[in-house]
């Protein structure tokens, strides 16, 4: 018997509220621009702003083709008018920044400075790292850039904010999210609560199947090919080999572009959805390559207050079409404050998901650190690593293992791509079985990745007024796997045996072998979950 719950889905595109299908998209052969009301399905080869991100080992000096009015962005600290010899052009500050840059670690992507006001020559600066065009070859490959205390606004950061603000002025959102009161709940972790009555659609609840993490893509249901073209901000594509990141106002997009679209029911400012290869109609599952695209997105924005999140089916994803969410919140997410205990160093390999061969001794530069999140209501893992590719591989493979085990899970990319949180969850299962207390259900919060991270969007004013850290804790505790279940999952995903709260404790019972671990996992979750 399949498990279902009734849920009202969040409206992410106005198309979902529209009564009928819009008219067919005009043929885009010689007219490359798609009509704003046309569906995204016709977007191939049409004209779209495009952000190309560098993903190669040795980026060259970029050429910005169109946005020329962006002022040069020196190091944040040199913004005072008193710190340069030449105040007008900030040339003095450039000197100061170059001096600082020369001292920085070599393993960082670097781009040439961009002169303000002048033409398209030269690149642009990121994270206050100025360099001459021939800075020592940095192993980019998505290596983590030092995010620093307060990073300088990157080009993608500015472009994303600008386009989102423009859409807001055009009235493309269902409500003004900046009018929704928000506060930090008193307590150590600082859970963030928001009163948002508009986010939840007034449509009747429909039935969602929650016990299948992998479900086939259904073209009849809403998906992002049906969203309106005007809700698309830009395409987000890997740059050519050796090229550095750049932004073009109007480029011909590919046959299957990855696009960034607005969420018309935003959780907070700048809420967008990254849809990799949107026309390929990939279901809502993680894989190493799509995870890498999301990590690159976080890295390119370079703002620690923008996180990227993912919900699997059964973990309160509302649409079975691959998408990641991202928005700005100028506060740490409570989960980012939680301490971690190192678990294992994993080298991503070609081994099949769940294989015990996965775990290898701490090897070289490519090994990723997986830690256990401690002192936090939802048990999970934190993945930190030397390069985006390695992290994406580990997270993607772990997700595939959870898909195989039919375990709903959520993922959060924080700190500009240098920390990834991964949580398996059980709330929907508990809800379907009637195990969630009534008062929690009344609050009406579906614990997806943002709630698990600590950002609670509440529907009712009384919940918002009286929200406490204890209430948040109670809700999230119902989401979490138990200790035994998590340990079993660890064994399966990371091949870690005998790991409890801390690998240094050594005081937790050990599981022996993968088969035993998998069996224990199934037993712990309850066999009935697997039945159809």
């Amino acid at each position: 018997m399949a498990l279902y719950i009734k849920r009202v889905e969040t409206v992410v595109s106005f198309k979902q509220l529209a009564a009928e299908q819009p008219a067919a998209a005009p043929a885009g052969t010689d007219i490359p621009v798609l009509e704003p009301d046309a569906p995204v399905s016709g977007i191939a080869f049409s004209r779209l702003p495009k952000y190309s991100y560098a993903c190669d080992a040795t980026p060259k000096v970029p050429r910005i083709s169109s946005i020329t009015d962006f002022a040069r962005v020196p190091d944040m600290d040199d913004s005072s008018e008193g710190s340069g010899a030449d105040a007008a052009t900030g040339a003095g500050t450039a000197a100061g920044v170059v001096a600082a840059a020369a001292l920085l670690q070599p393993g960082k992507a670097s781009l040439a400075s961009y002169a303000s006001g002048s033409g398209a020559d030269g690149g642009w600066q990121r994270f206050g790292l100025a360099s001459d065009a021939d800075e020592t070859g940095s192993s980019c490959d998505g290596s983590i850039i030092d995010a620093g205390c307060v990073p300088v606004s990157s080009l993608l950061d500015s472009a994303l904010l600008a386009m989102w603000e423009e859409r807001a002025e055009q009235g493309l959102f269902r409500y003004d999210v900046t009018a929704c009161p928000t506060k930090v709940v008193p307590g150590q972790y600082g859970f963030v609560a928001q009163l948002n009555e508009g986010r939840y659609s007034k449509k009747r609840p429909t039935e969602f199947r929650v016990d299948q993490v992998v479900q086939t893509f259904d073209p009849a249901k809403f998906n992002f090919t049906k969203a309106f073209k005007r809700e698309v901000l830009f395409a987000f594509e890997p740059a050519a080999r050796g090229a550095a990141s750049s932004f073009e106002e109007g480029a011909r997009c590919s046959a299957s572009p990855s696009v960034v679209v607005i969420n018309v029911s935003p959780i907070d400012y700048g809420h967008v959805l990254l849809c990799p290869r949107v026309l390929d109609c990939i279901p809502q599952v993680l894989a190493p390559d799509t995870c890498l695209a999301a990590l690159h997105f976080a890295l390119e924005v370079g703002n620690p207050y923008l996180r990227v999140g993912f919900n699997s089916l059964g973990a309160f994803a509302t649409i079975n079409h691959l998408h990641f969410q991202a928005y700005y919140l100028q506060a740490p997410m409570p989960c980012e404050r939680a301490p971690t205990a190192p678990l294992a160093r994993i080298t991503p390999g070609g081994a099949a998901a769940g294989s015990a061969k996965r775990r290898r001794p701490d090897s070289g530069a490519d090994s990723v650190l997986v830690s256990r999140l401690c002192d936090y209501p939802v048990r999970g893992w934190v993945v930190e690593g030397p390069s985006l590719a390695a992290m994406a591989a580990v997270v993607g493979e772990a997700s595939q293992a959870m898909q195989a085990a039919n375990m709903p899970h959520n993922m959060l990319i924080a700190e500009c791509g240098s920390r990834v949180f991964l949580w398996p969850q059980r709330y929907a299962e508990r809800q379907a079985r009637g195990e969630v207390p009534e008062h929690l259900l009344d609050v009406g919060v579906n614990p997806a990745v943002w709630e698990i991270s600590g950002h609670m969007v509440l529907k009712r004013a009384e919940d918002y007024e009286n929200f406490t850290e204890a209430a948040a804790w109670e809700l999230l505790a119902a989401v979490s796997l138990t200790e035994e279940q998590l340990a079993a999952a660890e064994a399966m995903l990371f091949g870690v045996h005998g790991a409890g709260r801390s690998s240094l404790d050594g005081g937790v019972a050990a599981f022996e072998g993968k088969a035993a671990a998998a069996a224990a996992l199934e037993a712990a979750q309850g066999a009935e979950l697997m039945m159809v």
Binding site: S80, A168, E249, Q330, A331, S418
Partner: protein, 454 residues
């Protein structure tokens, strides 16, 4: 937040020289293995204007690592405004090695051990550094009070390195006050680079930090204060208009208008900003710099809300589009010899306007006068959290009005808006909380005509 003073021990510990350190951010000590969560804690402590203590891995100039027990504390002036942050670094690598615990716990245990042992000493050092910081601040204020020239705040020609030696000279007499310099390095970061002549115009760090990141000309104006004065102006704005900060902060933006400014443009601004709710508006109008030079200003003004959703500020973003105007050759030249305003706003101009608007929206979302917005209510180490100081000199009923960036009458100067200038009280009357603004532009709802309804 640049470093304005560093003890000699700091240079020893990190291997950098004063030229490299002063007027740079301490960020350069971080590296690939520095734990991100610790960095976040420091960042958040600054955002919340409180102290913090973390033990994290830092890198010297030559790339070698050391374990740094880092203590950060804000220094406030007599008005309770944070002016500096003091950072104290202690190299605990050797002691940590001696503890012989596996890697990850080393940091925590070292932190505990040294926190306890050095606790009282930290306080001593802190007190002394506070004296140093206070003297530094005083000295800066004296410098600023001494002359009235607009360039007084800029370092003398010769680059960033010139001024710090001055400061160091003054402080060298006081260095013997810092007895524990031998054991502890310290660096003093300037939290408030700019001198704010008006107490009510000082902004909390959580807003000031993001604002300092924005490399464009813009101002923030406070509609809740009388005549909607400017409370923050970016360095690029000051450069564009040739005014100094003291001449700008606390005044309404209408001083940018001049004889040939078209009143219709001003009226467009007024209409949008005095609407209920205030609307964002983009207008290109003629403004004048301090020296009387006219320029075409593509101005975008938008209302900003705080964490409670109430109107908090207006932001005005200026772009000098005079060159574009010259190129476009739109019709006959105006009386001052400049061609008419550029016909269209280019995409990149719009992007420039909107990116600043968006960035400041995110920052303002974290603010709230009473509740502290997105800052936690708990204090660290018992230090009182600095509240956002805002002058409450609003006379009941008479509201702050006028736009940022040129609204208002040319002959203005009256606080109470008269019918002649046509400015109506905006939200914020009697300070009893702004009118709840339901939204910006018309937002589509299902069934309502407008975008989205099919």
């Amino acid at each position: 937040m640049p470093i304005v003073f560093a003890s000699s021990k700091f240079y020893e510990m990190t291997g950098y020289s004063p030229d490299e350190v002063l007027n740079n951010n301490c960020r350069f000590l971080q590296g690939p293995e520095t734990e991100r969560r610790k960095v976040m804690e420091i960042r958040d402590a600054i955002r919340e204007d409180r102290c913090c203590q973390v033990c994290l891995l830092n890198y010297r100039k030559d790339g070698s690592k050391f374990l740094n027990q880092f203590f950060l504390s804000p220094i406030k002036d007599d008005q309770g405004i944070v002016t500096h942050y003091v950072g104290i670094q202690t190299d605990v690598s050797k002691a940590a090695d001696m503890l012989q615990t596996p890697g990850a716990l080393q940091e925590q245990q070292a932190a505990v051990a040294f926190g306890q042992a050095a606790g009282c000493r930290m306080c001593d050092v802190l007190m002394q550094q506070q004296d140093v910081a206070a003297q530094l601040h005083q000295q800066q204020q004296q410098q600023q009070a001494a002359t009235q020239q607009p360039q007084e705040q800029q370092q003398p020609a010769g680059g960033a390195a010139a001024a710090p030696p001055q400061q160091q000279q003054v402080l060298s007499e006081d260095e013997d006050v810092v007895q524990l310099e031998v054991q502890h390095a310290c660096a003093i970061h300037d939290a408030v680079q700019q001198c704010h002549p008006h107490a009510q115009c000082v902004l909390p760090s959580s807003l000031l930090q993001p604002l300092m990141r924005i490399q464009q000309a813009f101002v923030l104006a406070d509609p809740r204060l009388p005549d909607c004065p400017i409370i923050h102006a970016s360095p690029q704005f000051l450069r564009l208009t040739e005014y100094s900060r003291e001449e700008v902060v606390g005044r309404n933006c209408r001083f940018l208008q001049g004889p040939a400014t078209n009143p219709e443009h001003v009226q467009q601004l007024r209409t949008a900003l005095t609407a209920d709710p205030p609307q964002a508006v983009t207008v290109t109008l003629l403004n004048y710099s301090k020296s009387g030079r006219p320029f075409w200003n593509a101005l975008h003004v938008a209302p900003m809300r705080d964490a409670e959703g109430k109107l908090e500020y207006f932001i005005g973003i200026q772009l000098d589009v005079s060159e574009a105007a010259l190129q476009e050759e739109n019709g006959p030249a105006a009386a001052d010899g400049m061609p008419a305003a550029p016909g269209k706003v280019h995409l990149s101009t719009r992007m420039a306007h909107y990116s600043v608007t968006g960035a400041v929206r995110v920052a303002c979302r974290g603010l709230s006068g009473q509740a502290g917005g997105l800052r936690r209510s708990m204090d660290c180490a018992g230090l009182p959290r600095r509240g956002y100081s805002r002058s409450l000199s609003i006379d009941g009923g008479s509201a702050a009005a006028a736009a940022a960036g040129g609204g208002g009458s040319v002959d203005g100067g009256s606080r109470r808006t008269s019918s002649g200038s046509g400015l109506l009280p905006v939200v914020g009357t009697s300070g009893a909380g702004a009118t709840e603004l339901p939204g910006r532009r018309q937002h589509s709802a299902p069934g309502v005509n407008g975008v989205g309804a099919v």
